[in-house]
């Protein structure tokens, strides 16, 4: 892709991230001046997005961004109040723009109307914000019509639409597709019949269906109801009747003869009262934008710094013992400095998982509203930091899995209540670091996978053999096959048989795996495990069997010296609790030590206080420190080892606490069995 495009994409990504953050600020009901500053920021963001898209020739995007910009303009002019439902709509709008742009980047065609799904909500907002004085009110935005068609309405048509809606009259659209040869005569016939039923407001050109030839028109008519049977439909003609605008959707404040002025987000009055506390002010953060090619260059530098530091470490190891104190001290300083640079550079690539969660929340709210399924959404582990490039690739799989959970997983409220469940479904999305992997769990309490149906569909598609027993695991995994779907028809959300295979392909391309499980009527769990490549890990450094090890501190409950030499299988006293001990050597398959001087009590990271804790015997406690963890390549994987970090004294092996707990438990059970 053209480098200039790279720059634009990078800038767009940043703009969307800013917009999400600013909307998040608005959701917290901040003081009026913060609302004003936030809305101004959103107005500028959408304005910039509009300009950039226009520059690249994406006219539909530009048009949609313009519409969003208009809404923010209305807000900043005080004509729209910042409410939860307004913020929700705006979030959905920003998400729609972002998803649309991501689609273009992937080579998909540009949609005609990015905001199609929000047309009604945006129309209501625009209607609500129109000035009420001087008869300039305009309710045409309530019409369920494409923006271009709305623009084509004359002043007279706008006035009539507004007056009719205010008087409580619905407006209908009658779309007809007519033959070239007779269209004028036929159009007249339709107009006469509709004119007899109500007020014919307009006859607009309409899109001819792809498989048809002829001319199409939309007749806009105001009447209580259109009776299709009364229309003079001939063979070969197409006819469709829709409700374009329902007067019930006219905002109450406009129907009220003395409407209250919408509550305005006011800027603070100058010099009145004390200034707001600093914490309440919108924080202006200067963002350094790095387009993809510059991030790649930065990563190359990161690699170079890493190599330089490795060379320094190696040199120090080789020079040890020789009389070169001063050069050694200088090298030591250099190595330390390079580690700091390396950590800083690595940190620049990291981003909080929250940034993906913030995109999921408005999506879930929108889907919940559209499907009529209330959802209790919970996020865990949003503070976890992962590489930006990794998270970018995870966004689409996440969004797909969330759509699936709402569409297929969660039952409608009535069905849930009948099953004794709460009316609102639960959707929990968590991120955690497990050993050398990042783990993402998407868990719902819905109906679970219908394994019988999956099996039948698998047999039908020739993916399974009839008469053979198929394990639940095999059946769950079948849903990851390309084109597999048990849905007889695609819904708006999912069920097209595409998506789960794309999820799998994306995760596997990252070297990870997808695991699915479910229980009938109790819910489903989709687990994505992705290997970490590099990370800075805070470790407890220990020595054992002449080697150095690092134990991630988030798994260490306690460090204690033994009163006497310790052996595997001993029970040690930890704060009055008898705790089993196993030596680290034994866990790693090394020969048993004679006796050890200290132990580290390990538990699962983030586990509850009653979870398993085991004391791991080590020879020496060296202290704590931050290390740059590099993962081991697949061929060098070893149980209990998460990766390594090159240190002055050689490689420090970083332990995988969860795996070590498992190995220790196995070893202790063997000891019991052989006792």
């Amino acid at each position: 892709m053209d480098q200039s495009f790279d720059d634009v994409w990078a800038e767009c990504e940043d703009l969307f991230a800013q917009a999400r953050q600013t909307l998040a600020v608005l959701k917290e009901s901040p003081p009026a001046h913060v609302v004003q500053a936030s809305v101004n920021a959103l107005f500028r963001t959408t304005h910039t997005l509009k300009g950039m898209a226009g520059m690249l020739g994406y006219t539909s995007f530009s048009r949609a961004a313009h519409r969003m910009e208009d809404i923010f303009d209305l807000m900043r002019k005080g004509r729209l109040r910042s409410t939860d439902s307004l913020i929700e709509t705006l979030e959905a709008g920003i998400l729609a723009l972002e998803s649309g742009l991501a689609g273009i980047r992937r080579g998909r065609p540009e949609p005609d109307d990015y905001l199609h799904a929000l047309r009604r909500e945006l129309g209501e907002l625009e209607a609500l914000a129109r000035p009420t004085e001087g008869g300039t009110q305009d309710l045409t935005s309530l019409l369920d019509l494409p923006p271009d068609t709305l623009k084509a309405l004359s002043e007279y048509e706008r006035t009539r639409v507004t007056a009719l809606l205010l008087s409580g009259m619905p407006i209908h659209g009658v779309a007809v597709c007519l033959d070239f040869a007779t269209f004028d005569e036929r159009l007249r016939a339709y107009s006469e019949v509709l004119g007899a039923q109500g007020e014919l407001l307009s006859t607009l050109p309409w899109d001819v269906p792809e498989d048809r030839e002829g001319l199409a028109f939309l007749l806009m008519v105001a009447c209580p109801a259109v009776d299709p049977a009364s229309l003079p439909l001939l063979d070969g003609e197409l006819l469709g009747v829709t409700l374009l605008a329902d007067p019930a959707r006219v905002p109450a404040s406009l129907r009220n003869p003395e409407p209250e002025a919408p509550e305005l987000p006011q800027a603070p009055a100058p010099a009145s009262g004390p200034p707001p506390p600093p914490a309440a002010q919108a924080v202006e953060v200067e963002i350094l934008r790095l387009p993809a090619h510059r991030v790649e260059a930065l990563e190359a530098r990161l690699m170079a710094v890493g190599q330089l530091r490795d060379a320094a470490s190696l040199l120090m190891r080789q020079a040890k013992g020789l009389d070169r104190e001063r050069p050694l001290a200088l090298l030591g300083d250099m190595e330390e400095g390079l580690l700091e640079v390396q950590k800083s550079l690595l940190q620049m690539r990291m981003i909080k998982v929250d940034s993906v969660f913030s995109r999921i929340e408005p999506l879930v709210k929108g889907l919940s509203r559209d499907t009529g399924k209330p959802v209790k959404l919970t996020f865990l582990g949003g503070d976890l930091e992962v590489e930006r490039s990794l998270l970018g690739r995870l966004s689409e799989p996440f969004l797909h899995l969330v759509r699936n959970a709402l569409d297929h997983g969660l039952e409608p409220p009535s069905e849930r209540v009948a099953q004794g469940k709460s009316e609102a479904g639960s959707l929990k999305i968590s991120a955690s670091q497990r050993g050398r992997n990042l783990r993402f769990d998407i868990r719902d309490d819905g109906r679970g996978f219908d394994l019988a149906r999956i099996e039948a569909r698998g047999i039908e598609l020739g993916l399974l053999t009839k008469g053979q027993a198929h394990t639940p695991e095999r059946l769950h995994r079948l849903t990851l096959e390309p084109g597999f779907s048990t849905q007889e028809r695609a819904s708006q959300l999912s069920g097209r048989g595409v998506g789960m295979d794309v999820v799998r392909a994306e995760i596997e391309a990252l070297g990870g795996e997808v695991h699915l499980s479910s229980e009938p009527r109790r819910g489903s769990l989709i687990r994505l495990s992705i290997p970490l490549s590099r990370a800075v890990v805070s470790c407890l450094r220990v020595r054992c069997a002449g080697q150095m090890f690092g134990i991630p501190l988030n798994s260490v409950l306690r460090v204690q010296a033994g009163k006497e030499p310790l052996h595997g299988g001993d029970q040690v006293d930890v704060l009055g609790m008898s705790t089993p001990l196993e030596s680290l050597q034994t866990c790693l398959g090394l020969p048993d030590p004679d006796g050890q001087k200290a132990f580290v009590v390990l538990t699962q990271p983030g586990a509850a206080s009653r979870s398993v804790a085991i004391a791991i015997g080590v020879d020496e406690i060296l202290g704590r420190g931050e290390v740059l963890l590099r993962s081991l390549p697949e061929l060098a994987h070893s149980p209990g080892i998460m990766g390594g970090s090159l240190q002055e004294e050689g490689i420090l092996w970083v332990l995988d606490p969860e795996a070590i707990l498992g190995l220790a438990m196995n070893s202790l059970m063997r000891r019991v069995a052989h006792a």
């Binding site: 690699m303 890493g306 190599q307 490795d310 190696l314 190891r317 069997a545 080697q547 090890f549 790693l588 398959g589 090394l590 590099r630 993962s631 081991l632 390549p633 061929l635 060098a636 994987h637 070893s638 149980p639 209990g640 080892i641 990766g643 390594g644 090159l646 050689g650 490689i651 092996w653």
Partner: protein, 143 residues
């Protein structure tokens, strides 16, 4: 017969071996190998190569391999990111010696070799990276 390539003739594990140059990333000076605690057979440890850990083959653990005849003087880095300790780089060949023998399944070296041929009275054995990696995975799984 393997696809045409040029071949690097090396001596390792007491054998004369051929490595297809298209399978090689580079040949580098030997680096100190760090053993992995509890590591699997077939891998003696790792070295730091281009900022990442590179696993280094343990020839001793491979069927049909002898003991090294001398110290390691180079490390051949294969494309699947695996380092092969080399005792001596002998030279390059433009073509495989004929007749070329495809290894029998019963041959112990068939687990990692793509065939052999005679150059004069010297037997040259081709290292097949795909077979070698598959063997290492089996050794890891068997532990």
């Amino acid at each position: 017969m393997p696809e045409s390539s040029t071949w690097l003739h090396v001596r390792a594990a007491g054998l004369d071996l051929l490595l297809a140059t298209r399978d090689l990333r580079e040949v580098v000076a030997p680096l100190p190998v760090s053993a992995i605690p509890g590591g699997a057979r077939g891998i003696q440890g790792v070295v730091m190569h281009q900022g990442e850990f590179l696993p280094v083959l343990a020839w001793d653990d491979l069927p049909g391999c002898g003991s090294p005849a001398g110290p390691v003087t180079a490390l051949a880095v294969l494309r699947p990111r695996l380092g092969l300790p080399i005792e001596r780089v002998v030279g390059t060949l433009g073509a495989l010696p004929e007749p070329w023998q495809v290894p029998e399944d019963s041959e112990s070296a068939s687990a990692w070799s793509g065939g052999s041929g005679l150059l004069g009275d010297m037997e040259l054995r081709l290292v097949d990276p795909d077979r070698l990696v598959a063997l290492l995975r089996r050794l890891r799984a068997d532990r």
